[in-house]
Symmetry: C2
Subunit: 133 residues, 2 copies
């Protein structure tokens, strides 16, 4: 029951990102959080999400796999989008790329407090190098 509820919360969080309703993120993210071990404020985190959406107008979070256990969520998210300019240190320059994010979250009282994310940047580089269709 609790797991179902956390899954629903998490899916609403992704929907807020996809619908660019960034003012709603306060509902899903604590005032302070950690991202890959580094502390930051929700304001800074939300600013990053806004900037990402500006740089990637067609950014869309598509859930591929989703697991919930206790206060943790694990998600494999698929992206198929065209980042402008440099993205994650890679000169994507508007080309369309497909990649995944494997991300874990720890929730407290129904809001995200810790995020651990790995993005398949090597896949992006491979696609842009033309090694792969």
């Amino acid at each position: 029951m609790k797991s179902e509820s956390l899954e629903q919360t998490y899916r609403r969080y992704l929907r807020a990102l996809n619908e660019r309703t960034f003012d709603d993120l306060e509902e899903f993210v604590h005032d302070e959080l950690t991202y890959n071990g580094q502390g930051l404020t929700r304001d800074a985190y939300v600013a990053q999400r806004r900037e990402e959406a500006r740089q990637i107008p067609d950014l869309h979070y598509a859930v591929d796999l989703l697991l919930v256990g206790g206060d943790h969520v694990a998600c494999r998210i698929a992206f198929d989008c065209s980042p402008k300019g440099e993205f994650l240190g890679i000169d994507v320059d508007g080309r369309r790329v497909s990649f995944v994010e494997h991300v874990f979250y720890r929730f407290r009282d129904g809001r995200i407090e810790d995020v651990w994310s790995v993005i398949d940047t090597d896949e992006i580089r491979e696609q842009l190098s033309g090694d792969q269709a």
Copy 2:
């Protein structure tokens, strides 16, 4: 109950990798599996694990986060090791590096049939570039 059992199975799988008891992997992996969408035989998969252990004598899988849901397992695995030569396309050359793998598995009848893995190779590159302690 079922989830507990799958967690135990998975932890025994990692123990087999850590203890280099590769002949036991038949218990944990189907004859054929997919790895990031690519099909391969268990024999080929086990041969890769043997080769990895040869290249990285101090390879050790340390569970940082572990979630089980239905037939799926998600794990954040931490590594702190010294790969010889080139590793994941990076010239590590015996230097010690710390990185993580975020990996999802689908089990069928208690054995792995699909693996989706992302490794934080950018973190390895950063450490080797001296940008980070």
